[in-house]
């Protein structure tokens, strides 16, 4: 854990250095483009988190072990946090570049629906009552929501199918220094995700211990 924390700390420093000093300033967008690295970092982590929710939900239904449920729940919580950060950083980037905080572009629409889906996941958990119900219903919703995402994206694209303008980074034409800064940032955020996930699961373990002690002592 200490090694992991250390690694995360240093990769974060490296990421901040490479984003703000090492990477060149983008010619058209200027300094505001630097938020792109953190934007990608957060959306990357959110994607990993939601894939983890899907996999651990399936595993929970198959094995019914608390560990998978904790993993699913903790990932979902972090996913919601990071997708919120994605939307915020995206808006900050979009305002000076596109002149608007928000547009109903397919990617943005899908992100927005993704955000709502996992907030609903949280609401379902808090409404479900006892632990077994919580875990099982959440797992069911986690699976259904994930299966829905490709269809949501395709239908969002269909609704906006007329507009030929594709926003966002063009992918191909990115300077090598920028690529390095991006990769360093992605690494840093992945490590951060692992640290946070481990912390979150530890908290759930502690909660379990408290309730089992309470049960033994009859409090």
């Amino acid at each position: 854990m200490r090694i992991l924390l250390g690694l995360t700390f240093f990769s974060m420093i490296a990421s901040i250095y490479s984003v703000f000093i090492y990477a060149p300033t983008e010619q058209i967008m200027g300094h505001v483009q630097r938020i792109f690295y953190f934007h990608m970092g957060t959306v990357w982590v959110a994607t990993i988190a939601f894939i983890m929710v899907f996999i651990s939900s399936i595993q929970y239904l198959r094995k019914e072990s608390r560990r998978w449920d904790k993993l699913a729940y903790s990932s979902a919580e972090l996913g919601v946090l990071f997708i919120t950060l994605t939307i915020i950083t995206g808006s900050i980037w979009a305002k000076p570049v596109w002149g608007t905080w928000w547009t109903w572009d397919p990617q943005l629409t899908t992100t927005f629906i993704l955000w709502i889906l996992y907030i609903v996941y949280m609401i379902l958990r808090s409404a479900a009552g006892d632990d077994a119900k919580k875990a099982k219903f959440a797992a069911v919703f986690g699976i259904i929501a994930f299966l829905d995402l490709p269809l949501v994206y395709i239908s969002a694209r269909m609704m906006r199918g007329i507009s030929p303008v594709v926003f966002g980074p063009g992918g191909g034409g990115i300077a090598p220094e920028m690529m390095i800064a991006l990769l360093v940032t992605l690494l840093a955020f992945t490590l951060l995700f692992i640290v946070l996930l481990k912390q979150r699961i530890d908290i759930e373990d502690l909660k379990d211990r408290i309730s089992s002690i309470r049960l033994e002592e009859g409090i």
């Binding site: 629906i113 379902l124 119900k133 099982k136 069911v140 259904i144 299966l147 269809l151």
Partner: protein, 223 residues
């Protein structure tokens, strides 16, 4: 097949005795149409763009009312236990419930459609066949997931209140493609002319009927 039919028959007989579900859904769809009438104060050229939206909002809202009751009825008389004790495969229970929900929603949709034509003086008869096709596929989409979620929602503290929150974000692809297809067929085009809408709708139906049939038994274990 007989087993699925038995569940369907049981739900229909219960409904015929009380008629509470259908009358509630029907009245609700009537109210929605009324509100739309006031909200837009229609002129006929306006109606052309608004019709698909009005229809699908009415269908899904009235449908959700019925779906919410679908398992509440089982829960109240504790007859869900009886269902669980019957020696049939759990996915057959899902199909039984799915079909009985479909029957109720289709009846309400049919009446809504007739009232819509009557109230808004808007002819749909030139496209009645493709339109029914679209309505069947769209309804299949939202009722398939709705049946599963109805069983979940009723077992939580929030009960039926939770159902729309769970269901609407998931069925966005269904609503988007159904509205688009409805607009397209009402203009006299075929269902294949609205781009990928028909593919989205059919894929949604197939994916989620299969997924829900598999998952349904895990939900029943917790009820």
């Amino acid at each position: 097949m007989r087993k699925i039919f038995t569940i369907l028959w049981k739900d229909i007989v219960t409904e015929l005795r009380t008629k509470e579900l259908l009358s509630a859904m029907f009245t609700f769809s009537l109210i929605i149409l009324l509100i739309f009438n006031f909200a837009f104060s229609f002129s006929s050229e306006y109606l052309k763009f608004a019709t698909p939206a009005i229809l699908w909002v009415t269908f899904t809202f009235a449908g959700i009312l019925g779906l919410g009751r679908s398992f509440a009825i089982e829960k109240e008389g504790n007859s869900i236990l009886g269902l669980l004790l019957t020696p049939v495969d759990r996915s057959l229970l899902y199909f039984g419930k799915l079909i009985s929900n479909l029957v109720f929603v289709f009846i309400v949709e049919l009446i809504t459609l007739a009232l819509f034509v009557l109230f808004f003086n808007y002819s749909i008869f030139h496209a009645i066949l493709p339109l029914s096709f679209v309505i069947i596929l769209g309804t299949l989409g939202f009722v398939s997931v709705g049946t599963l979620f109805s069983a979940i929602a009723i077992n939580t503290k929030l009960r039926e209140v939770l159902l729309p929150i769970l269901l609407f974000p998931i069925i966005i692809p269904v609503i988007v493609s159904s509205v688009k297809l409805t607009a397209s067929v009402l203009e006299g085009n075929s269902v294949f002319s609205a781009g990928s809408a028909i593919h989205i709708l059919v894929s949604f139906d197939i994916i989620f009927i299969a997924a829900c049939a598999i998952i349904f038994e895990y939900v029943l274990e917790e009820s």
